[in-house]
Structures are given as structure tokens and as C-alpha cells.
Symmetry: C2
Subunit: 111 residues, 2 copies
Amino acid sequence: MARAATTSDAFNAVAEPRRRDILNYLAMQERSVTEIVDAMEMEQPSVSKHLKVLKRVGLVEVRREGRQKLYKVNAMAIRPLHEWTSTFERLWKHQLLRIKERAEANNAQKQ
Amino acid sequence: MARAATTSDAFNAVAEPRRRDILNYLAMQERSVTEIVDAMEMEQPSVSKHLKVLKRVGLVEVRREGRQKLYKVNAMAIRPLHEWTSTFERLWKHQLLRIKERAEANNAQKQ
DNA sequence: TTGACATATTCCTATATGAGAATATATTGG
DNA sequence: CCAATATATTCTCATATAGGAATATGTCAA
């Protein structure tokens, strides 16, 4: 078996940095493909292909406006990623706490 | 250019579902490779290869204990994912609020 | 209808994968 | 040292890319 398809879920789709760039850009507001192309400094076909992947996994939505197509983020589709990472939040906070404690103990010893 | 290497960053590493499974399992506590193999119901070489990827991007840490190697999560490496997804939190909360408002308006009309 | 603009698709290729099978390496007890 | 246990590596193969180039499709204005 090869690697899971980029379109298999949001995790795979956002693994590609260019697609995260596009999502970051769209987070501000809805944009046409040309606007994305100009902002990202990517070839238009590349942008279209990335948008296709993002649309497939529900990370963006499109609507037509004249000859343009306006893409916007569907933030809800990012939630599963956020929730998954949140399960580890307790762990890294614990880690940070220990680092802080160690630093303070170190400081106290120097006094 | 092909897809970015799974070892290029945490985003790519956790795109693979089996690796997320392993991280979830390790979130509870440090475990040996054999324990992971038994829990995940995967072949031992597969587990070792996945652990190699996770280690490469800093998502896990290892220490030897006799003939065993004990792996544990390094939660800090998951933070970048969490922070990136957090950027969109405002957006989906806004989305949820609008859904709620619409539901309430709908309810009021039925009264 | 035609031309111009906007977006999408197809074809190509180098490349990296994940699983499975086989094998190698490392560590300990006796 | 040897045998047993624990883990890692190598090899092969089917598969899915991402980007570039070329082209197709869609939509409006005149």
C-alpha cells in the first residue's frame, strides 16, 4: 500500500505546506482563484489543483460570481485536527510546568 | 516534485492514521515496541518504521531499558499543529454561533 | 457569435511512500 | 560464547503524488 491519498481526510490535505498557505490566506476573506494565484505566487493550475483537494475534504467552499469562482475556508473542517491536537495539550502544559519549575529551582540555588 | 517527505515535519508525519494511533496510545504512558505492536495489531517492522518517522520529526523520544526501547510522546512537537488550527478557531465559533442563531429564530417562528 | 478573461483538466515524470517478507543488529542470561 | 528476546533495516512493489506544460472548459461583453 502507498501513502494515503491527500484527499482522504483533512490531516492529509493540510500536510502540504502550499495548501496551508492557501487556507491561511482564505482565513482573512473569500477570494477568487486569480487573487490566490497572485498572493501565493504559484502557477494557476497548481492553485486550482490544490483547491480541488481542499474542496474534496471540505476545507473550502466555492461559489460562482460571474466568471470568477470565490473560495472561502470552511473552518469546521479544521476542528477535527484541533480536537486531536488538544488531547495532548495536558501533556505539553505539564512539560512546560516542569521546565519552569526547574528554572526556578536553578535560580534559587544561585541566590 | 513529489509529495513532501513524511519526515519533513509534524504535519506530514501525523497525516498517516497509524502514526496518530501510535501517538494516541503513547499519550497514556511510555511503552515498549512490543507493547505497541500488541496494542495496535500491526507487524513489528511496521511499528518500528512508523516510530522512526515519529522520532525523526521529534514527536516521540526513546530510551533504552535493557533489551527494550521505551518510546514516549514529546507533546511539545504537537503544539505547532495546535497553534495552526487555533488560527481558525474564531471562524468556526462564528459559524457555530450563526447556526445556533438560525435555529433559535426558527424555533421562535414556530411558537 | 466571437474574443477575452477565468478556471479546470490532462499528460508527463521524478519521487516517496507503506506494507510484507526476509534478514540484520543489539542486548541479556546462562 | 550461545541462545533467546527485542528492535531495526533492507528489499520489492503498487500507488499517489506536485509541478510544469499544454490544453480544455466556462462565462461574460459587445
